[in-house]
């Protein structure tokens, strides 16, 4: 069995951006992610927000393939409850008659959901439904309820099911303390006497990050062993390769053109793209972090690690492990074809 896995260690220079503004604290000021070490404040962009944008890239790629890589309707909109709803939709299987999701068809329905939806497959889910379904009469959720009524099975007595995501994203951490915050007002005001309604702080820094995808899990059924004579791979080999390639390209597209929260007015000014990609068919892909921590240095406890690409490169054996370094976006995009040729 080949254990295809890929890791990305990368540095991004992001100027005047708000990718790290993910929420307000009750005031009308959008708060950036801050990492406080004694007197020093660093800057971080959470892996969760990056994951979201990699998935957006992924579903664009799925949609643009010919033929399309299959997705369920709510996954195509990255609906946050796509897992539970997707499994219920797969259970009903386009039948005009309502079907009840219960212990008899739970695992076959989870398998069908993986087959029908690449987003559920690579993105993972936790379906922790209760054993009763309420009446679909709340105005807040009309669209969702309509979809559920038309396309989803009723919920019977059914256990929670979970699928771990096939890819994980660690934080982007700034290499230098954050001295300056620039505030952007998100609504135009024509008089200086008025307070700004909403404000978000903008940052500039160079960041280091890690992404890893366990490609060998794509298209597999986590519950194959609970079904009679069922193979672990739930889709065909060629379909698995298409999904693997699309996920790799989605990750690369993020690094090449990073987007995140609060980009409506300002795309980040990218002034640095570099790193290393390690692909292996033998094990979970190792990585070297682009940052290093030195607690003895009070003025700079977090620093760039200049050796990280060399460390990644030293792991290459050209038999089952390959490494591609990139120093700019052109190098990075060129790696897509080379990686696909190895799969």
């Amino acid at each position: 069995m080949e254990l295809w896995s890929i890791s990305f260690a990368y540095r991004l220079g992001l100027g005047f951006h708000a990718l790290n503004n993910e929420g307000a604290d009750g005031s009308n000021l959008m708060q950036p992610r801050r990492i406080d070490v004694g007197q020093m404040t660093y800057d971080g962009i959470s892996g969760e927000i990056i994951r979201r944008h990699i998935l957006e890239n992924f579903l664009d790629l799925c949609r643009n393939q010919n033929p399309q890589i299959p997705m369920l309707p709510l996954s195509e909109g990255l609906h946050p409850d796509r897992g539970p709803i997707g499994i219920r939709a797969a259970a009903r299987n386009d039948s005009a008659n309502p079907v009840t999701l219960d212990a008899n068809n739970l695992f076959t329905s989870v398998r069908a959901a993986i087959q029908k939806c690449a987003v559920l497959d690579v993105g993972g889910f936790l379906a922790a439904w209760k054993d009763a379904q309420g009446k679909a009469n709340a105005g807040d959720y009309v669209a969702e309820s309509n979809y559920i009524n038309r396309h989803c099975a009723q919920i019977g007595s059914v256990d929670p099911v979970k699928r771990e995501s096939c890819f994980d994203v660690a934080w982007l951490i700034s290499e230098n303390p954050q001295d300056l915050t620039v505030t952007q007002h998100s609504a135009f005001r024509d008089t200086a006497s008025m307070n700004s309604r909403y404000a978000q702080s903008m940052r500039s820094n160079t960041y280091g990050g890690i992404i890893r995808a366990d490609l060998h899990r794509i298209g597999t059924d986590d519950y194959w062993y609970l079904q009679n004579n069922q193979q672990r791979l739930a889709i065909t080999g060629p379909e698995q390769k298409k999904r693997q390639a699309a996920l790799i390209e989605a990750i690369i597209n993020f690094i090449a053109s990073p987007t995140g929260a609060k980009t409506a007015g300002w795309a980040p000014h990218v002034f640095l793209t570099e790193g290393a990609i390690l692909l292996t068919s033998a094990r979970t892909a190792p990585f070297a972090s682009p940052i290093k921590v030195d607690l003895k240095d009070k003025d700079a406890p977090v620093q760039p690690d200049p050796t990280y690409t060399k460390t990644m490169e030293d792991l290459e054996n050209k038999t089952d492990t390959w490494v591609w370094k990139f120093k700019d976006t052109k190098d990075l995009l060129a790696a897509v074809a080379a990686i696909k040729s190895k799969l």
């Binding site: 990492i35 994980d168 979970t284 190792p286 921590v293």
Partner: protein
């Protein structure tokens, strides 16, 4: 059953292993690290510099399942309560708190006809993440028949702690002797042998009873066969205005 925090009952002694154990050593590095103290509230999770024995043992089983090795995973879970775990903390960790949108499950608490029962809603909470200096070393004592499977799992372990707490194995998994110098002391040890310069952290571990399934397809820490107890580890915490720093020395 006793799930009282920080207490040790007669049932909850460290595994009295009947089987001879093979010790394995695996060193990992992180980019960012996150492991939640099991005592802390879901919405304000405190970070711990070492992971718990259940995290390591369930991580081995989970990795074996993800590699398609279900029979090895199930067999390992059958002896997990006989295994021993020692975790050597890294040199230091800077913990930082972040404000998160947390997903919680819709319930029928306020609306008996809630159409979104079982789906998710958003609440706010905080989490502690860590930036790590040095490496975390995991030592696992495993019955001989399961050592090869555990070695495979430790080689392919994707994360220690939460999913975004990815770890990268340094070198390879090696056989070793039982670590005697590492301070990762369960209550049975620190009550008779207190070391200076140590800190107590709450961790979860299996009791002496076999690990049981929560559901036909699910094994979890937190049931009747696990408990939370204070472990002593080497090092100190230093508070900052908005977080904490752990230093081993």
């Amino acid at each position: 059953m006793s799930r009282k925090k920080g207490t040790v009952d007669s049932e909850s002694v460290a595994p009295a292993t009947a089987l001879p154990l093979i010790w394995l050593k695996a060193a990992y590095k992180f980019h960012t690290y996150a492991y939640r103290d099991p005592r802390s509230a879901f919405a304000s999770a405190m970070g711990s510099p070492v992971v718990s024995p259940t995290t390591v043992l369930l991580g081995i089983a989970s990795t074996l399942f993800s590699l398609g090795k279900e029979s090895a995973a199930k067999a390992f879970l059958d002896v997990a309560n006989n295994c021993r775990v020692v975790v050597d903390a890294p040199d230091g960790i800077i913990f930082f708190r972040v404000f998160h949108q947390l997903r919680r499950y819709e319930t029928d608490k306020y609306d008996k006809h809630n159409p979104r029962l079982g789906l998710t809603n958003i609440n706010q909470g905080t989490r502690e993440y860590g930036l790590v200096e040095g490496q975390t070393i995991i030592y696992v004592g495993i019955p001989e028949d399961h050592a090869e499977a555990a070695k495979l799992a430790l080689t392919n372990l994707g994360h220690l702690g939460t999913r975004d707490s990815m770890c990268s194995l340094i070198d390879s998994v090696a056989n070793c002797s039982e670590p005697k110098d590492v301070v990762y002391m369960p209550p049975e040890q620190w009550k008779t042998d207190i070391h200076p310069g140590c800190t107590a952290v709450t961790l979860s571990r299996f009791k002496n009873t076999p690990v049981t399934q929560t559901l036909p397809h699910w094994w979890m820490a937190g049931g009747n066969n696990t408990e939370q107890v204070p472990y002593f580890i080497r090092g100190r915490f230093e508070g900052t205005s908005k977080g904490k720093i752990y230093r081993k020395r």
